[in-house]
């Protein structure tokens, strides 16, 4: 037990949000609230006062916000974060003798008891407060104390005792001498809004050449920007842009015997042209990249690059820092392997090296190098194969100086490992979304991500496809499957992304049955995509992204709720703003092959709609409007048309043509 003063009587515990006993911070974006609750109580029946203390990390003084009593000794307070960086918060509480005294006074007076001594007790409390007061309050309190002790009529003195003026005076100089303070300072990391709401487009720049057959360049990418921005994305993510190794280079379809013109995988980083701080010469120069970053910004987007901390045998590190690699007894470097599989084109960095500190420092230098070139968003390749402590240090170091930097963790691995990476600092995280296809799976998983403690630190970023993942659902389901998965990703997740143009062109050919690898994967060759194809989903995607931008309900994840619908192929869920001014209801037909219908049950009461009242649902995808009545309403979705509704709910009043936006 660690108490300075045994007279301190208040217990503060069960503080939320708090991750692992305060070991890890929670996450917020600028403008969001932190709602803090705690169990607070003392012995006996005295009245408590409780305040939430918070401050920006670089401020020395706590700000204070009163907490309100809820029920069952639970108290709640909140504060809003207004700047990027870190905030600290904790809870303070004390036995409030003045409030206790007032309550007792009322009860005794109402029971007709003599309160003359109680009034004197109150005068003593007021005197004590006077000693703590600043400014003119001291004098005012002295006057009150005199009045309480005076021979005025009791009812008169009671009025003073219970008056608002005294309450306010006393509240300004509370007796915190024996106040308890929660024994942990909790932290929230505050990111910019894009950490919470973003639409990513992954693209291989080398496939962007305007002249067929050529190696695309950063310059070529500039020409592609209007197309991508036109679809409504705001992050343009490139696989690694660094020199690609030659030794053990993989050919088309991961062929260990490449042809002479095979460009290799961008994730095989390092050649005689350089390493992680260099640009693959065929893409252009660092200056070209800097210009592309600027142009991308002009289109309302920003570039994300890939942090893939691994090397080919040709990487300069291998010669310059042999101590960063694991050496085998035969004096060769240990290549990556997952026995019996061998990845001889990849040398993993050895984080158990004696020189780990230099290695960490260099990785930080890599990040800072690209920050210097205007990059603020990093997609991190396989973070789960590098030590957790390294990430915590690296992200902490970078964000201390650049709190606007976003790190997306590409860890397709076990759940606790994914959550750990999020806890220790990753801004966003890839999820299992790609493999959650049924209503049950989607409901379970997204309830876990948005309604449990996980949401405090793990920000999902939903990808229906990636260059590594062409799911069986997409392989089998055709265009309706792509549309359904797009709507799910874009509305279940405020953060989502697609790998294009494969996605909008509904590329669905797998390398072989049972594989999730693309046939003729872009990872190993330059692709020529016909982005002008008439059946491209680009317009559909543009519409979905516009709906996301226009409807704040879709810009956060925590209000997600699933609603019953009596057909397992149909899923229904909603999101809404806190003030109910924007309510979006999504219905998706999960079966890409058949038309399905069902009855949606929707909890109107919680939205302030009377059971008997009709209301309008406006399908923002088709622009159709329907009148709905009561809790159960009919929906029908034909995947050959559009496999989803994105309804905006509007409360109907008076006549059919006379609508009032909620609230």
């Amino acid at each position: 037990m660690n108490i300075d003063d045994g007279r301190s009587r208040v217990i503060i515990e069960g503080v939320t949000p708090e991750i692992d006993g305060g070991r890890f911070p929670i996450k917020r974006t600028v403008g969001e609230k932190v709602v803090v609750e705690a169990d607070i109580f003392a012995d006996g029946h005295d009245t408590l006062s409780c305040v939430l203390l918070y401050r920006k990390d670089d401020e020395s003084q706590w700000k204070e916000h009163p907490m309100d009593f809820l029920v069952n000794d639970r108290w709640r307070g909140e504060f809003t974060v207004t700047e990027m960086g870190q905030y600290r918060y904790t809870v303070q509480a004390w036995v409030d003798d003045f409030k206790s005294w007032r309550q007792a006074l009322v009860k005794k007076f109402d029971a007709g008891q003599d309160v003359s001594i109680d009034l004197l007790t109150g005068a003593e409390l007021v005197d004590e407060a006077g000693k703590r007061a600043t400014g003119s309050d001291g004098k005012k309190l002295k006057t009150v104390a005199l009045a309480l002790r005076s021979d005025r009529e009791t009812s008169n003195r009671i009025r003073i005792a219970l008056g608002d003026e005294l309450a306010e005076l006393m509240a300004r100089c509370p007796d915190k001498g024996l106040a308890a303070i929660y024994d942990r300072e909790l932290v929230t990391v505050v990111d910019r809004p894009k950490a919470r709401f973003s639409a990513w487009y992954e693209m291989f720049p080398r496939s962007c050449a305007s002249v067929p057959g050529q190696h695309g360049t950063f310059k070529d990418c500039e020409g592609r920007l209007p197309y991508i921005a036109g679809m409504g994305f705001d992050v343009l993510y490139f696989p690694p842009i660094h020199p690609i190794g030659r030794t053990h280079r993989k050919g088309k379809n991961n062929n260990p015997a490449p042809g002479p013109d095979d460009p290799g995988s961008p994730w095989a980083i390092g050649s005689k042209e350089g390493g992680h701080k260099d640009v693959h010469p065929q893409l252009g120069t660092l200056e070209d990249f800097r210009q592309l970053v600027a142009k991308t910004g002009e289109h309302g987007m920003e570039i994300a690059i890939d942090l893939a901390f691994q090397c080919t045998p040709d990487h300069p590190y291998v010669n310059e820092h042999p101590e960063w690699f694991r050496w085998r007894p035969d004096r060769t470097v240990q290549y990556a392997e997952n026995p019996p599989k061998k990845y001889e084109d990849i040398y993993p960095l050895n984080f158990e090296s004696e020189k780990w500190q230099e290695l960490w420092a260099e990785l930080k230098e890599v990040v800072l190098f690209w920050i210097d070139r205007g990059v603020r968003v990093f997609r991190v390749d396989n973070p789960h194969t590098k030590p957790f402590h390294c990430w915590e240090w690296l992200i902490g170091e970078v964000k201390r100086d650049y709190p606007d930097v976003i790190f997306l963790a590409e860890a397709f691995t076990r759940p606790k490992v994914m959550y750990q990476l999020a806890k220790l600092g990753f801004t966003q995280s890839y999820t299992y979304f790609a493999w959650r296809n049924t209503k049950w799976e989607l409901t379970q998983y997204f309830t876990e991500l948005t309604q449990t403690e996980v949401r405090e630190y793990f920000r999902p970023n939903l990808w229906p496809n990636t260059p590594d993942i062409l799911t069986e659902y997409l392989q089998m389901g055709g265009r309706p499957a792509f549309m359904a998965r797009l709507v799910l990703a874009a509305t279940l997740g405020a953060n989502y992304g697609i790998y294009g143009p494969a996605f909008e062109l509904c590329e669905s050919q797998a390398k072989e049955l049972g594989s999730e690898e693309y046939l003729d994967s872009e990872k190993y060759e330059i692709k020529k995509w016909d982005i002008t194809k008439p059946d491209s989903l680009r317009d559909f995607i543009a519409r979905v992204n516009r709906i996301r931008r226009e409807n704040p309900a879709l810009q956060e994840d925590w209000t997600l709720r699933f609603h019953p619908i009596d057909n397992d192929q149909l899923i229904c869920y909603s999101k809404q703003t806190e003030d109910l001014s924007n309510i979006i209801v999504i219905v998706v037909n999960l079966d890409p092959h058949h038309r399905h219908s069902g009855w949606v049950e929707f909890p109107l009461q919680t939205l302030g709609i009377d059971h008997g009242q009709a209301f309008q649902v406006h399908d923002l995808l088709s622009d159709a409007r329907h009148l709905w009545h009561g809790n159960r309403n009919y929906v029908e979705l034909d995947p050959q048309v559009v496999p989803a509704h994105i309804f905006r709910l509007r409360r109907r009043v008076r006549t059919e043509r006379d609508f009032d936006y909620f609230m």
Copy 2:
């Protein structure tokens, strides 16, 4: 982040049991197990080794027990506590290069790959282990390393590499250089078995006079011991035995105007005859008390006394330590009040006194005084009206030197306050049992107490009545209600107690309708109980307590499970020993007025009984035996006979008369 070495790659988190981030200890009794689980993982795919570390608080060296992998990165280990006091435990884990190497070797060899370099790598690992080895292991490891490097046939060297001998050698000198250790040391308080399993009998010694009308004495109590021990109780608890105050003494039925012979409430402690370290003269002397303690022990019971830290105006403390009380402006001491109610016979101690340290020290002296007189069990009156920190300190101080002391918290207050008192050290706690009467209430409450984290620190002690609590259920239900509540208390709780002889004599007269106060409460007068009444429940209670003693399943709470039964007036639950050698199934008719029947559903599979197999249930109350078949079986209970079954399950084999005890 606090890491000594950035190369440490293992994360340990989610350790259970752990209360409030390790702020509070868990509780066990001698002979019980502590099953520890943790989430443990590292980056990448290497194999881990994990151990549970534990030690008695006064030992400097950790003992070590291997943890087993469960699923989803969860590991489990356990240790048994064998002595009273405190144990510490934590978790250690490391990347096990040798195990990883062996796994890879097997896979490569099975895939027909060349493993010659791998064997050399293994030899290096063995060499390193040799440097850490003690005794003859070093030499043995050197021999193995030589063999692995030799030109013997590969299959031969593989056999050595994968052999048990090498595995055992390596396990004895693991490379813990980069091991992670969980950053908290967790504590378990270990009590004697009575903390877990006890039957309490509360009795006013002053009502035990053998001569009617006289004030009972400790000597008289000696004569009552065979009666109480005969019912099978093992704790005999006395309300305060100290001198009773005169000022504002309460008369019969709490009358503020007492008669001259009214004895007053034992909880009004302190008179000119003394205070908390004195004995009420009419009960006898300290020497009489010491003798009673000894005699009680001879009957297999022990005395519990009441710690009621409050004073009458006549208590010696008031003059000797005026600074321990709160003084009002009129220079009178503040009496207890809960406005508008006044308790002028009670002066609460002021724990906000400047002299709080002396006050705490004196309270500790009081406890030690009675410990010196042979008392090891204390029932603490209203602990929730004294500061939490004081209890934590006091209990910690006492149990450091006397780990066998049991403190029972009588806190009938809000749930979080009750749980807090348990967390900070109370051995057992009163519960809401008295007011949980319906199947739903009992199921909810006892599931919370026995199947959630609460069970780690809160040990329920179930009382169907107390001198303050004559529930409406008992008032209305007559003898069947007393029988039902006794069976519920004695089987839902391994710890339970009754206030007698009021209980066994089915005393059910309340002071008035809507009150839970006894009419002519023993708190304010000496009662003459006719314990020989033929309809006394003494034999029934004796039988229930014997069943408890003979069936270890009833001596702990954690295995409690409720089972469906298709009648809301019938409740069914079971307890069992870990090895299934003792399985007890209880059915209680909660309606004291009507016969009820229903079909019990019992999960036979989990008890190793085939669905088609008949089995015997032996009612230990009535001694009747029934053959049951399958999951659903019929029960019928007439409250006018016995409102409960306490079945022991026995697996039936071969013939009806040929039974085999489980396992």
